[in-house]
Amino acid sequence: MNDEVFNLLGENGFVIDKTGEFLKATENVDLKTVVEELVELKSTLDKKANEEVDILTVSKDIMNSVENIDFIIKGDDIVKSSSAESLKQITETMAKFKESFKFIGEYIASEKTLRQREEDYLAAKSDLENAIKNIDQRTDLTPALKTREVLRLKNAVIVCKNAGIEAFDLFVENKKHYEESVRNVDIKEFKEVLLEIVLDLERIINSLSLTAKNKIALRGILNQMKDSVSNKVLQDKFDALCQKYSLQFVGKEAAMVKDEMPGETIEENIAEGFERDHNIWTTPVEPITSNPLDEKNPEKIEKKKNNINWLLDELKRLNPDNEFELEDTKSTIYDAKINCDKSIKELTLPYGYYYLSNSITNRFSTDADILNVEIGTLEREVTASVTTEVVPEEIKPNKLEDSLPKPPVVLPENDFDQIRETPVTETMDLSEFENDPDYPEYKNDLGVPDFVINTEDVQNTASRIPANKKTKVTKTRRAKMAQGVKKLLTASAVVGIASGLALSSVALATLGGSALVIKRLISKEYRDNIKASGIVEPMLEEENVPETWQGLKKVIPAFQNGFKKAMSMIKNRPEEDLKDLDEQVEEVVGRGR
C-alpha cells in the first residue's frame, strides 16, 4: 500500500510538503483522483509553455484588454478619490503598455480599418445588387429618378471600393514595418516583460478606489491577460490544489528517492519490540549540532547567503512602500524566510521569480542558483502619529526591464486613443428602411418579434447547430430591429449561455461580475421603459432581480413579456426622413478613417 501511494506520487513528481496538513486533507480522499487532476493541470501548463504563439496574437489580446481596463477605470464613479500616487502610477503603467506596443499599434489599427472597409464595400455591393434586381419593377420612381438612383448606387460602390484600396495600401505598408520590427523579437522575453507589466498593473489597480462591480470586472480581465502571457490563472489553480493537499511538485527524479530511510522503521520496532533506554530526564541533554554537510561547503553557503540578500534587496526596491525582514529558518524545504507586511500575491517580484502558495521561487525559470524562499507575515506596530506630508518618490525605471532587449520602436504617429477600437456609439436604427421593399422582411407590424414566451423552465434540448464542427453559411441578409430589441435579445443570450455553463472554477473565474452587469441592465430597462409604460412586474424590481445566472434565467421570460407589452403601447412612432444614400455611404466610409 505504501509503495503504491509512493509510486503514484513519485512517478508524477510530487512529494508531501507539510505532513500534518497532508494527512488531514487526504483522510477520506481518493489520492489517485487528486494526483490525476494535478498531472492534467501540469501537463496543460507545460504544453502551453511550449506552444508556438505569435506576437500578433498575444498583442491583440493584451491591447483589447488594456482598452477595456482603460475604459472601465476612466468611467468609474469613485476612481478620482484614489490617492494621487496610485492615479499617477496607473497613468504611467498605461504608458508602459503603449510603449511596448508602439511597434505593432499602427499595424493592428490599419488591419482593423482594412477589415471594416472590406465589409463596407461588400455591403454596398450587396445593396447595389439587390437594388438592381428590383429597380426596373419599381413603379414609384420616374425614369429620371431611376437613372439618378442607379448612378448613385454605382457611385457608392466605387467610393467604397476606392476606400478599401486605400486601406489595403496602408495596411501593406504597416505590415512591412511590423515584420521588420519583429524579426529580432524573442516571444518568450516579450511575454515575460508583458507579465511584469500586467502584475504591476494588477498591484496598482488593487490600490485604486473603484466600485465593487468594476473591481470584479477588472479582476476577470486581468486574469485573462495573465493567461495570455503566462498561464498565471492555470498556475494559480495548480498551486492552490497543491496547497490544499500539501503536496509539492519537485519532478520525478527528485521525488523517486532510491535511498532507504536511515535508522529503524516504526514497523520494524513494533515487530521486534524495542526497549526504550533513551530518557531525557535522567541523561544529560546533548546539544543538536549543525549538519556536517553544510560545514563542508562553505562556498555554497556563502553564495546562497548572497543570493538571499540580493533577493531581499530586490524585494525592497520593487516594493518600496512595504517592509521586509529576513528571519532565520531551520527549514529543510525553504532556503530562507522573509517576512513582509503585504500579501504574497500583491508583491512585485524580481525577474524570473514566481509565487507559490506561501513562497517565492525562481525554479521554473532557471536551472542555476535556485532559491525557494518562504514568505511570512510581518506584523506592523500601529502607533498613533502625526502624518506628515510626504513628497511622492519619483518612480525610477526598472533596471532589469532596461536590460532586456526591447522591440524596435516605430515612430508613433497615433495617440493610443486612436488605436482603440471604434466604440460602438452609433445606434443601428434602420427604421428609415421600414417601407423599402428591397429589404427582406424580418419584423412584424409592431416592430417587435413575436417571442415564443415560455413561462416554464426551458428544457435542455440538443442544439440545431452541431458543436465544434464547420457549418457552411449559405445566405446573409440584413436584419431590421430597434435598439431596445437588440439589447433585450443580447442580454437574454448572455444569460442563456452563462446559465448553461457548469460552474467549473475556470469558467467562473472568467465570468467576474458579468451577472451583476446584466442584473443592472434588466433593472434599468424595467424602470425606464417597461414600468414607465404602466406595466408592473415585481420580479423585475431591482431588489428582486437575482444576481446568479440561474436566477436571471428565470426572470428573462417576464422581462421579454414586459418589454413586448410596453412596445405595443407605443402607438405613434416618429417617422424618420429617408437619408440620401450618398450621405450614408460617406458616413460609413468616414467611420473607417
Binding site: I465, K470, T471, K487, T490, A493, I497, L501, L521
Partner: protein, 87 residues
C-alpha cells in the same frame, strides 16, 4: 459576417447575429437561433467565424472555458454600450 444580420446555414437554420467579439485573433458572434417563423427562439449560441477558400463557415463553441471568456467580453460590450447611450 457582421452583427445585425441573419445568416442561413446549410442545414437551413437561421441565426440572428447580435454581437461580435475578438479573442485570440478569432472573430466570435453571439447569436440567437430563429424558428420556422423567423422569430427568435430560446436557443442562444456563440459562433466562431471560419473562412476557407473564400467560403464562410461557422463553428458553434461548446468549450466551457472559451464560452466563459466570451460571455465576459460580450457583457463588457453591452455595458459599454449602455454607458455610452447614457452619456
Amino acid at each position: 459576417m457582421k452583427v445585425d444580420t441573419v445568416i442561413t446555414l446549410e442545414n437551413d437554420v437561421n441565426c440572428l447575429l447580435l454581437e461580435e467579439a475578438t479573442l485570440a485573433n478569432e472573430k466570435y458572434f453571439l447569436a440567437v437561433v430563429l424558428n420556422e417563423d423567423e422569430e427568435p427562439s430560446d436557443e442562444y449560441v456563440i459562433l466562431k467565424e471560419h473562412i476557407e477558400n473564400d467560403e464562410q463557415y461557422v463553428i458553434r463553441i461548446a468549450d466551457e472555458e472559451t464560452l466563459g471568456k466570451l460571455v465576459n467580453l460580450f457583457t463588457i460590450k453591452l455595458d459599454m454600450q449602455e454607458n455610452n447611450s447614457a452619456i
